[in-house]
Amino acid sequence: MTGPYATVVIVASLLLALWCGVLLIANRPPNRPLWVGLGLLEALLIGFLGWGLASMLARTTDFARLEFALYLLGVAAIVPLAGWWIRAEKSRAAAAVLLVVLLVVPVMVVRVQQVWASV
């Protein structure tokens, strides 16, 4: 499903993860440009959610619909939840939290694709 788009999401997430890794090593909390990047990633993920749900409704052949929808909703929710979780964290742990989440996003996107491809 949505091959090139999913690839863009994965690459964007990994680049942001790299950025968080640099902040973590430099012992710094997330800065404003990173938040802008996270906002863009979230926009991509909401697009992915919409596209995925629309594709799911349009598809007539059988596949694991529930799992598919849960992964789509999860991957769209995880970045905002992480942002909320580190709202009061001023240390580099905030960057580490985002690093974890930004590595989870590509895994979830791949799982969405696997569920879509499996019958």
């Binding site: 849960l70 999860g74 995880i78 992480a82 580190i86 905030a94 580490a96 939290v97 974890v100 989440v101």
Partner: protein
């Protein structure tokens, strides 16, 4: 390091990893039980138990008060026991685990994170334990 709170600093990172596993295990077991429970009821119930333990551990670590610390220690202890037991059992009797749970093969399907996580969790609880008299 003056930080002694279980749910701040490194603890915040740990809790996120727990939350991710709570989410992943719940979603997985939910869809397993709803769609194909009769295929492998034991494995799927085990998945659900693992999910429940991750949820309890996540919430208890995030709350971080004295009672929650005890709850977290028990939950993470069960988690460690579970991953070791299921890990050994899935190697000795693979036919009993036709569908992978988070703990199968010591969590090998999840980069062995399920095996490392409870050890790190217990270490962190120990490290952030309240000082006497506080």
């Amino acid at each position: 390091m003056s930080e002694r709170k279980v749910n701040a600093g490194f603890g915040r990172v740990l809790i996120v990893i727990y939350a991710v596993f709570a989410l992943a295990a719940s979603a997985r077991s939910f869809s397993q039980i709803v769609t194909r429970f009769d295929e492998a009821p034991v494995a799927y119930l085990l998945s659900a138990l693992a999910a429940l333990i991750y949820i309890v551990a996540t919430i208890a670590l995030a709350r971080g008060d004295r009672t929650s610390r005890t709850v977290a220690t028990v939950a993470i202890g069960i988690e460690l026991g579970g991953v070791l037991t299921v890990g050994v059992a899935s190697l000795l009797a693979p036919e009993a685990f036709p569908s992978a749970s988070v703990w199968s093969g010591f969590g090998s399907g999840y980069l062995f994170i399920p095996l490392v996580l409870p050890i790190v969790g217990l270490w962190w609880l120990h490290r952030t334990r309240p000082m006497p008299g506080s």
